[in-house]
Assembly symmetry: C3
Homo-oligomer: 290 residues x 3
């Protein structure tokens, strides 16, 4: 019996990125759907639930993707509600690569730092990747400063994280000028930059001015990058005593995690892969004991 | 040369149910198209007709599906008209599972009853599955009462059946209240319930009150089912002297028939699989001599 | 690692013709997208560029098709612009079969004629196939008369060809009546008819009246054909001293060229297959030394 991955994409054209990764994860049959919405997803899920016997359902799985993370989260809830009893298939949600990217970034941090009690700051923390990176840092018991352009949005992100992580140590902060971002970063041990494409938070030369900084990760692959001192390809490169990762430096681990996650969907019919479970895989792929 | 099944679906998103069954029928390459209409189907058919030599065309085939049976029938006519001479591929029409479900239901009846001369009643007989079930019963020379909510629709269904089955013994009847359905069923040997999802024709406790009833089949899988005394999973379960089949009890045979039909498309390039031919397969799969 | 062909089709439903040929060219995984536009193509290209390492990118490729050749050409420009450095995949453009058909037609001519200095006339030369046939004839140093319904369009086609072929010997002409087409063809050695479906340029009995004619090719497969004296299936059939090819007579070579072109996409990651490169393949497939 062939493994089937049904790709539910919220964009009109299903992501070719997710398709190639599915094929390279040895999915034998890929069904790709575009413009999937809460209104049309139920029939697609039923078609997967009712075509193979309960013992065979682990050979069918669902991948939820697309550029809009909020839409992807809504689809995940709809899909989960449609299942009942043993009539279910495994499902992974990774719209815009948000979960695999955040998981790879924080697992990369774990290679170099003890995150518990660590002073971490996430720039662009209200975006899809930033929010998940901050959640994972809180999960690792770091003291996380959650930075956004407005305090309201940063506080809202903190509330979201506290609902997911008991005892999360998260503090909201806001900044919009380069000098403000620099000031907020002072005394941070770890900086994660996860802003929108083209937004530069820390300008050239700033990195060496930050006291106590040990690790800096910039997840922006499109120039200008978010931390001007970090090259997009850099992977664990030390500069001014700071270990640096660029977006593609994290990308290798992200791809491995993405493929491992896809493959694991077919190990049973009840997996739900989102932020936490994907992070656990990232730690495992990175060779970090949990 | 790979076998190719082109799935022409009249819905925007092609049915994942039909896709999984295609894969599980060992189709090697599946092309799925959504929103297929009489206006865009011809080019798709030409692309299948003109790409392989006449001797190889049996490796390409068409499956017509979607939730709207009338649209599927129209597509089947358009596809058939596009073929000429040896330039054709085999085609199967099973929008909404109408043909495979009706065929499996009536073949299941044949295991238990001699249908010739049998008093059969079809509830919800003007829907896609009910109409086909009534046609197949007429073909088996049963005396069929065709029940709908209005007499007009029931009579129209009888006319349709008479154009397809010479000497069909079909009688129109209408009912809308549970008591009316119960009354119409009196003295029936076979009841087939094929109403819309959620419509209950015969309430709890009614089945044992029907004189002379030997077999009852309910094709509604979504609760409330059409015959409240029948469980959706029941398969040839005897209750009050009546052999009962629920929708999933018929479903196993339906799936086998569906897969056999798909596989048979690739045996030659001139098959047209619809109600009758699919019924013949159902009898064969059910081990009934024809 | 599986070979992946991403089919970018400018029509709403991707061409089933191009899909079957891709499968028959041993593409292992086909991703088909409909309604691809300059506005949504970039993300699709990125997904192909960034999922496999530079050394592996030759296993991913793009096919641009659809009924509208101008839209296909625009997509090809957009796709080419998106690549940078070694981050690219091979790409083929053959909207409406324009390149493979023109290449097969002119390669077929080369079997019988020395095209250099040959008097060639292309009827319907401003259509997608006709324009490419005229370009290839000019490339072979034929003296080409480019015929359209209006002189403006014919002259515009000549300008286009001159920008592509240095020293192209092309002359614009216009005609709309059968007698005018016949007159323009007098003294031609080679006639290529590439008009729209259903347009007849040279009526029955005309072919034998054309002085000095050696070869006539009609690329219209839908009756009435463009040269009434040529049967659609004819392949190198001599009539009145003229070697004749109908559309399907050219079609066998066209299919071989199409398949060879697809296969060659996976030999490296930097191929761009359009008119010229596809013509070179046609000559090779036809066994003509270049």
């Amino acid at each position: 019996m062939k493994t089937i991955l049904a790709q539910f994409d919220t964009d009109a054209l299903p992501s070719s990125f997710d398709q190639v990764v599915a094929v390279d994860s040895n999915v034998e049959q890929l069904f790709s759907y575009g413009s999937v919405t809460p209104g049309n997803v139920t029939g697609l899920v039923h078609g997967l639930m009712f075509t193979r016997g309960p013992a065979e359902l682990k050979n069918s799985a669902i991948f939820i993707g697309g550029s809009d993370v909020a839409k992807g989260e809504l689809l995940l809830r709809m899909v989960s509600k449609t299942f009942f009893g043993p009539m279910r298939v495994s499902v992974m949600m990774d719209s815009n690569g948000c979960n695999t990217t955040a998981a790879a970034a924080i697992a990369s941090s774990r290679k170099h730092l003890n995150l518990a009690g660590c002073r971490a700051i996430v720039l662009g923390a209200t975006g899809p990747v930033g929010l998940r990176a901050a959640e994972l840092l809180a999960l690792e018991k770091a003291n996380v400063t959650v930075v956004s352009r407005t305090l309201d949005r940063a506080e809202s992100a903190c509330i979201t994280i506290r609902t997911k992580v008991a005892d999360a140590q998260v503090t909201a902060a806001c900044a919009s000028q380069p000098s403000e971002f620099e000031e907020l970063c002072q005394n941070a041990t770890l900086i994660v930059s996860a802003g929108a494409a083209g937004v530069c938070f820390l300008e050239s030369g700033v990195l060496q001015k930050i006291q106590g900084l040990k690790l800096a990760i910039d997840l922006n692959a499109v120039p200008p990058v978010g931390v001007a001192d970090i090259g997009v390809m850099e992977k664990a490169i030390e500069k001014f005593g700071v270990i640096c990762y660029g977006a593609l430096g994290v990308g290798g681990l992200k791809m491995k995690v993405h493929k491992k996650a896809i493959a694991s969907l077919f190990e049973s019919n009840d997996r739900v892969l989102e932020t936490r479970t994907i992070y656990d895989m990232a730690l495992q792929v990175a060779g970090i004991a949990t």
